[in-house]
């Protein structure tokens, strides 16, 4: 259970569903431990190996609808903290909530909007009109869902201080609340201060319908605590026909059971595939909490569970089993090795070589990414050269990029020549003594590398980096296993200075100022967090690469004109122009190596052979209500 201190698994994933900015994931959680929910949510169309985000000609089938049968048994690695739709901010619980309560929209393959409770559209990308479906009902006594349901929630809950909801900031722009207006019984609009063609992709307007009468008492009292602890919200008793299933029982320690919702509102939708007309096709869903990975896999093998995340080492085993298959679904959390370029980084000696572009390039040349992908992820990962997975439509193409860590750009010679030229740039007398990089005092350069405790894949990953750096760069790496929360508090985040105004910038604990502002404890390198390269809206990546952004724990100062280029991209008028601008950014990133960008592991999720529905696509799960068992 050790690792299954992964509430982390959820964190790693929350981004897909929610705001891009919650971009922080604990590395490794994604691939191996992030089995919470086991991918019950993701879905897709036919296997599109060359285009994992792409759409597919939906196989409309022969018009015969599947029959309703069986219970879908899924597994979670950790218990749920809350099912309160307003306050939940974890991926795992989000999946459970969405069995009973649809959000307003989602995406289908091809990054097309999938309207659920409403369709959002805009002529000018500035005023977004939401048109609701007209057959949505809460359970008694809460009545019908209308536009007011949403505008009330936005204005009285999300855009207030007291409620302290996780999504609150989605409803502000430049610290001003967005103007939201009801324009009809089933229509309202959101006015942005400036056009944003990728507004939907940010997931900012994401909302669940909550009855006004349920919220009102808390709104009147400004009672956040009562709101969080409200039994109807926690037990999802108000969901009416708003989800494919209704919650029967939530046993805090062991899981949740759901039963089929016979009059799911999407059955009447005419803009969705035919299969929705009698959806869902399971009589019920059962989520069981099973902490042990071995037990989850055993349950999948014996048929007690219909889905579980399969670690890379066992994918071929489960592919070979008659009763199961494994779906390889790309995802956008990368495995990065971050370098501490702040003043308390580089504990090896004087100066901080991490600040030298050439040095970082040298480190990147020292790690064989192809072997890493094969050795740690058994091939179920993509090599990462820049801040975008190769299957993303924004990916500029390998020819344009500096492909460090593969082919000609890998090896001791490549590494050392770059490190040596970096050393020429600094005032301190580092040098190579035989195979070892030594400090001016003559000791071997020795650096710390932190990784999450208790996860095998992570540990292997860290060990591999240590060995490669030792072999090719002559640097000794000391591995430190650490708890992720502890790492965040004492290492990753800086101590906010008493006089933030004195500094050029101070943007909170993840970038509390320039490099002289440091965390409590010194660290050199970390693979604790994987970060989200969010292919739906890569403009958001600026947060990782601007020196005064809100997220720069590693103290990176770009040696390229990052600010201008991102601004340029934001102002792009057409997708073509945007693509070009982003390509330039990604090329610069691959050259500047802000951090060791190593791999994009895929989710490898095992399913019961008779289950129809999952696709090998980034959007797998978009049509979950139509999933079914084949007789």
């Amino acid at each position: 259970m050790p690792h299954d201190i992964d509430r982390r698994g959820d964190e790693a994933h929350q981004m897909k569903r929610r705001r891009w900015l919650q971009a922080l994931g604990v590395a490794g959680a994604a691939g191996l431990a992030g089995c919470s929910g086991g991918g019950d949510q993701e879905t897709t169309a036919e296997t599109t190996e060359d285009d994992p985000m792409g759409g597919s000609e939906t196989t409309e089938g022969d018009g015969e609808l599947p029959s309703v049968s069986g219970t879908y048994n899924s597994l979670a690695s950790a218990t749920y903290e809350t099912l309160n739709p307003i306050y939940n901010d974890t991926y795992g619980a989000g999946v459970a909530i969405e069995y009973t309560l649809d959000p307003n929209y989602s995406f289908r393959p091809g990054t097309e909007q999938l309207p659920l409770t409403m369709e959002l559209s805009s002529d000018d990308n500035e005023v977004w009109v939401a048109s609701l479906r007209e057959n949505m009902e809460f359970s008694d006594p809460y009545g019908e869902v209308t536009a007011e349901t949403f505008t009330y929630q936005i204005q009285e809950v999300q855009q207030t201080e007291w409620a302290n909801t996780p999504d609150s900031t989605n409803w502000y722009r430049n610290d001003e609340p967005l103007n939201v207006e009801q324009t009809g019984t089933y229509e309202f609009q959101i006015e942005l201060p400036s056009p944003d063609p990728l507004y939907l992709e940010t997931y900012d307007p994401s909302l669940y319908p909550i009855p006004i009468d349920l919220m009102k008492p808390y709104v009147d009292e400004e009672d956040a605590k009562g709101f969080q602890e409200d039994e109807d919200l926690l037990e999802l008793t108000f969901t009416g026909n708003l989800g494919a299933f209704s919650l029967d029982e939530w046993n805090r320690g062991s899981g949740i059971t759901f039963s089929r919702n016979d009059d799911y509102y999407l059955q009447e939708a005419d803009d969705l595939p035919e299969a929705f007309s009698n959806a869902p096709y399971f009589e019920g869903i059962e989520i069981s909490v099973v902490g042990e990975e071995a037990s989850r896999l055993a349950a999948l093998e014996t048929g007690e569970a219909d889905t579980a995340a399969v670690p890379p080492n066992r994918v071929s085993e489960f592919q070979d089993l008659e009763s199961t298959y494994v779906s390889v679904q790309p995802q956008s959390y990368n495995e990065v090795c971050t370098y501490n370029m702040r003043d308390n980084g580089w504990s090896a000696g004087p100066g901080n070589l991490f600040r030298e572009k050439k040095f970082r390039q040298g480190l990147a040349s020292a790690i064989n990414k192809e072997r890493l992908v094969k050795g740690v992820y058994r091939g179920y990962a993509d090599v990462e050269y820049t801040w975008q997975p190769p299957w993303s439509k924004w990916f500029p193409g390998e020819d344009e990029l500096m492909t460090f860590g593969t082919g000609d750009l890998y090896g001791p010679k490549e590494t050392r020549s770059r490190i040596e030229s970096a050393i020429e740039n600094v005032e301190y007398d580092y040098s190579y003594d035989g195979d070892r990089l030594v400090t001016p005092e003559g000791d071997q350069v020795s650096l710390s590398l932190y990784h999450v405790a208790g996860q095998n894949t992570e540990k292997n990953f860290a060990q591999y980096i240590a060995q490669e750096l030792d072999k090719n760069a002559g640097i000794n790496v000391e591995l430190n296993a650490i708890d992720a929360t502890k790492f965040a508090n004492d290492y990753w985040q800086q101590q906010v200075p008493d006089n933030p105004d004195q500094y050029e910038w101070s943007n909170g604990r993840n970038n509390a100022g320039p490099r002289e502002v440091t965390s409590k404890n010194a660290w050199d390198m970390s693979v604790v967090y994987g970060l989200n390269a969010y292919p739906l809206n890569p403009l958001t990546a600026d947060v990782f690469f601007l020196k005064d952004s809100v997220y720069n724990p590693y103290g990176y100062y770009p040696s390229w004109n990052a600010k201008e280029l991102f601004q340029e991209a934001k102002n792009a008028e057409s997708e073509e122009a945007l693509k070009e601008a982003l390509a330039e950014i990604f090329v610069k990133i691959s050259e500047d190596q802000p951090m060791g960008m190593l791999a994009f592991p895929s989710d490898t999720i095992g399913y019961n052979s008779s289950l129809q529905g999952p696709i090998e696509n980034y959007f797998s799960g978009w049509d979950f209500p139509t999933w079914h068992f084949e007789e």
């Binding site: 922080l24 048994n73 046993n251 805090r252 320690g253 069981s288 007690e304 604990r509 947060v543 997220y551």
Partner: protein, 324 residues
């Protein structure tokens, strides 16, 4: 003055002990950083808000902004009025969380405790009566096996063999089955077996060693000479003195396993009992729940020790409670 007074004093003392330990735990938890607060701050920072403000709001929401002594007094009053607070990690009242978990823990603890108390001393005395015979060796071997094999290790191997290879027991613990049903019995066989083999060893061993001392004692020989039936001899002359040190062992063993191995067994077999709940609470740093379960376990341990002392005093007439 006598047994009642002694017990009254011990009970009063038990209350004090519980209080002290809970205070210690409270202090320890208060000193620890609260991850939910820093999470709020991280999130605010990521979203471009003011993390300091978010932190403050989160603290306020969790009542962490009050001065220490106020929070402490609040807490202590809560303890005695049975308002143990709200579990942040499960979003339900702490008492409810504990009761729910206890329900599952009891299902395997009760059979386990009964089996241990019955089988342990019996096998031990049997062993002592047949000292150095093959029977002794087999019994000792079994006891040692159970004692020596790490519970969790034994558990995962049994689960692999019986759950995966033979597929006769379920791997996922099902909370929906009735308590007194065959299904429940089947899913509890392995955990109870693992726990009994674990706890029986120590008990058996102590009872063997202790009773071995008495088997050759003069009073036993006298009794045998007087023609007292062997059963009576074992029950009165050997079991009773053996129970003195044994009571210590049994209580200690059960307590140790209850708070220790039961957690691991729960983890291995996926039983959502007290151990798991506590462990998850610690990981989530769910202060109220950790305190609640600490309180509960402390209570169990205190009562256990109390029983142990009383039994000890009652059983060994040489020690008188008046003098203490």
């Amino acid at each position: 003055m006598g047994l009642e007074w002694y017990i009254t004093r011990r009970v009063a003392w038990a209350v004090i002990v519980t209080f002290i330990i809970v205070t210690l735990t409270w202090a320890l938890l208060t000193a620890a950083p609260n991850p939910q607060v820093s999470q709020a701050a991280t999130q605010a920072a990521l979203q471009g808000g003011d993390p300091a403000e978010a932190r403050e709001r989160a603290r306020e929401l969790r009542g962490l902004d009050a001065p220490l002594h106020e929070r402490y007094i609040d807490y202590v009053t809560g303890v005695y009025t049975l308002e143990w607070g709200w579990s942040e990690s499960r979003n339900q009242p702490v008492t409810e969380a504990l009761l729910e978990s206890l329900y599952y823990t009891a299902q395997y603890s009760v059979p386990w405790t009964i089996l241990t108390i019955l089988l342990g001393p019996l096998v031990g005395i049997y062993s002592a009566a047949n000292q150095y015979s093959w029977k002794d060796h087999v019994a000792t071997g079994f006891a040692f096996f159970g004692y020596a094999i790490p519970n969790f290790f034994f558990g995962i191997i049994l689960l692999l063999v019986f759950g995966v290879y033979l597929d006769v027991v379920p791997i996922v613990y099902n909370t929906d089955v009735a308590v007194f049903s065959l299904e429940n019995a089947i899913q509890l066989v392995l955990p109870v077996f693992v726990l009994v083999t674990g706890s029986i060893g120590g008990t058996m061993r102590v009872s063997r060693n202790e009773s071995a001392e008495y088997i050759n004692a003069d009073f036993v020989k006298t009794a045998t000479a007087k023609g007292v039936s062997p059963l009576r001899i074992y029950a009165r002359h050997i079991l009773r003195p053996t129970m003195v040190p044994l009571s210590t062992t049994i209580v200690a063993q059960l307590l140790y396993l209850f708070v220790g191995s039961s957690l691991l067994v729960e983890v291995v077999f996926g039983i959502p009992g007290l151990g798991q709940t506590t462990f998850q609470a610690v990981i989530a740093q769910d202060t109220s729940l950790v305190l609640g379960s600490t309180l509960f376990f402390t209570f169990i341990a205190t009562v256990g020790n109390l029983l142990q002392d009383v039994v000890y005093t009652v059983l060994d007439p040489r020690i008188s409670f008046d003098e203490r």
